[in-house]
């Protein structure tokens, strides 16, 4: 059943460029897809370890800048009169570096903040994103600051024996996004179904008990943070090479909020949740634009979000899955608690 739905969904997604001829809509789908990858990576932290990273866009933006700078090259002054000159490398190298460096940032943020979890983790991640935004804004020599990095080359895939395939068209970029998204989905699915995933779930549900059966909190959460950040970095790299211009506004808080909305509405802790939530809230503005004034669009956006969470409080995918399975097996949600006789156990 689940396999059939998965195959159908992939087939439908893969067929889109074949029948959708409107470049505007295809463009919206590609950027939405890139944000869905970001939302999936956020879900790995939020849904499977219970840690809310409200600076998640930092990893996305770092991926975008690393990838852009790798493929554009730079020439910056260092203290002591030295200069660091980097000649442009192929964008595909930038893509790999984006993942590595974003993952490294995930490692440091993880080490730093998993010692102080809960609200502190939220604050550390927000601060991290803001600091990175300020660096991008003010290190003009490297990032051009608010002038933005422009003319970022499109990704070119090396084809052994055939030279290179530069992905210029929307259709090519759509398939690139889809392949990366599927790989990210597969990676996260494998991870959460492995014993690392079980360790994460154990920590989320009952940390004291998890620790007592030998689960290492810091190590488990750091692994989750590194992989999550690396996937976000990959999404950022795709974004940079597709849009081909990035400025420090990529780090804006609203972008993190968008990802959180995608995860929460779709259902945190479910693999398909961020995809469903992401498609709805990524494409909603596109659907509303022709029929509403800009101010009304955001009101409608908020209205849809509230309606979803009111009707399906655990998010679309988990709520529907639960209803579906309950109707099928017709079992009560909770077994009746057996009688316990606490009162009879006083010390004799």
């Amino acid at each position: 059943m689940r396999i059939i739905i998965t195959i159908l969904a992939v087939a439908v997604l893969a067929s889109v460029p074949l029948w959708l001829r409107d470049p505007y809509l295809l463009n919206a789908l590609i950027t939405t897809g890139i944000f869905v990858i970001g939302a999936m990576s956020l879900n790995l932290l939020l849904g499977f370890t219970g840690q809310l990273s409200l600076g998640h866009i930092a990893f996305f933006g770092i991926g975008a800048y690393v990838s852009a700078l790798t493929s554009l090259g730079f020439d910056i002054g260092l203290p002591g009169g030295l200069r660091l000159v980097h000649t442009p490398w192929p964008p595909i190298v930038g893509f790999v570096l984006a993942m590595l460096i974003a993952g490294l940032c995930g490692y440091f943020v993880g080490q730093l903040s998993f010692r102080v979890r809960g609200a502190y983790f939220v604050i550390v991640t927000i601060s991290f994103a803001e600091v990175v935004r300020l660096v991008a804004l003010n290190w003009v020599e490297l990032t051009q600051g608010p002038l933005a990095l422009t003319n970022i080359p499109s990704i070119a895939l090396p084809l052994p024996g055939f030279g290179e395939l530069t992905l210029r068209t929307k259709m090519q970029n759509y398939y690139l996004m889809l392949v990366v998204a599927l790989l990210a989905y597969l990676l996260i699915a494998r991870l959460v179904h492995s014993h690392f995933g079980r360790a994460m779930r154990g920590l989320m549900e009952n940390e004291t008990l998890a620790v007592s059966v030998g689960i290492d909190v810091t190590k488990t959460l750091t692994i989750a943070a590194v992989i999550s950040a690396a996937i976000a970095g990959a999404a950022g790299s795709l974004y940079a090479h597709y849009i081909r211009i990035i400025d420090p506004e990529v780090f804006a808080f609203i972008n993190t909020v968008t990802m959180v909305i995608m995860v929460i509405s779709g259902g945190k802790g479910s693999l398909a949740g961020p995809v469903v939530g992401g498609l709805i809230f990524g494409l909603l503005p596109v659907a509303l634009r022709p029929v509403m004034a800009p101010e009304a669009q955001w009101i409608a956006y908020g209205g849809v979000l509230m309606a979803i969470l009111f009707v399906l409080p655990r998010g679309i995918v988990p709520s529907l899955a639960q209803r579906f399975s309950r109707r099928r097996s017709n079992t009560p949600a909770l077994a009746p608690a057996a009688l316990t006789e606490t009162g009879a156990k006083e010390p004799a």
């Binding site: 990676l187 494998r190 991870l191 492995s194 014993h195 690392f196 079980r198 360790a199 779930r201 154990g202 549900e205 009952n206 004291t208 008990l209 998890a210 620790v211 007592s212 059966v213 030998g214 689960i215 290492d216 909190v217 692994i223 949600a333 909770l334 077994a335 608690a337 057996a338 009688l339 316990t340 006789e341 606490t342 009879a344 156990k345 006083e346 010390p347 004799a348």
Partner: protein
């Protein structure tokens, strides 16, 4: 216990929370394969002692040694890696997972594979998964919860959740098991079954330290009893000795009987 090797030594352990003395100068040993009970009125420091032994609390003075390793400064998961596993009074399960998945989480120590192997689904990782599933089923059967295997652990009765807690602890492959009030909230027949279970665990070669309020149960199952009151040991010995110890009767059993 003279004939046994010593598994755990508690050496002059003291715990103070500010001015409050939870444990003062506690020393005793637990032999390999022994069932030792730690008893005492509420607030005597029993759970505090457990928390010290499993690294959830750092003692203000003294140290705990397990099989030659000093536990001071080790994190709880590192102590678990030595084979010293505990259960908890209340929070004993992962409530949103099925009993079966609870056990799979509990088998963490046995299921360690390399991250990359797990992600790529390499044969080694797959074989390890199969072994874990097999072991989870065995443990569920061993504590007698087959019929609840696919129910959410949080939906089970109190007594059943206790059994899940014990199965979880066993999944972590203990060489010594610390049980914190395992039968509180159980009825007589559940308690009786639990006593059989504890004996079964000991027969697997696992040392047991028990904190419990249920006196008949403690007297039945223990090889030796250590009595705590106001953070210090007031008596130590076999159930028969403890039953007739005037200090114990006065400080603990007598007090309880007078109240009842």
């Amino acid at each position: 216990m003279n004939a046994r090797n010593v598994a755990m030594t508690i050496d002059q352990v003291a715990v103070r929370f500010g001015g409050l003395v939870a444990i003062s100068d506690m020393s005793f040993t637990v032999g390999e394969g022994e069932i030792v009970s730690l008893i005492g009125p509420n607030g005597a420091g029993k759970t505090t002692a457990f928390n010290v032994m499993t690294g959830f609390l750092t003692p203000s003075a003294g140290q705990v040694t397990y099989q030659g390793t000093t536990l001071t400064g080790l994190k709880p998961h590192e102590i678990a890696d030595l084979g010293l596993i505990r259960t908890f009074q209340r929070t004993s399960v992962f409530p949103n997972d099925t009993v079966y998945d609870n056990l799979l989480i509990g088998l963490h120590r046995q299921g360690r594979v390399r991250l990359l192997d797990a992600i790529l689904g390499l044969p080694g990782a797959r074989a390890s998964e199969r072994k874990l599933r097999q072991k989870a089923s065995e443990l569920i059967e061993w504590v007698g919860l087959e019929r609840r295997a696919h129910d959410a652990a949080g939906s089970l009765s109190y007594g059943e959740q206790r059994l899940v807690g014990v199965a979880l602890a066993l999944a972590a492959e203990p060489s010594m098991l610390l049980l914190d009030e395992p039968v509180s909230g159980m009825n007589a027949s559940e308690t009786h079954r639990f006593v059989e279970l504890i004996r079964g665990i000991r027969d697997r070669g696992i040392t047991i330290l028990l904190v419990e309020h249920d006196m008949p149960m403690v007297m039945t199952v223990s090889d030796r009893i250590v009595v705590l009151n106001y953070g210090r040991i007031i008596a130590e010995g076999t159930p028969d000795v403890i039953r007739n110890d005037p200090a114990v009767i006065e400080a603990y059993l007598g007090h309880g009987a007078a109240r009842a």
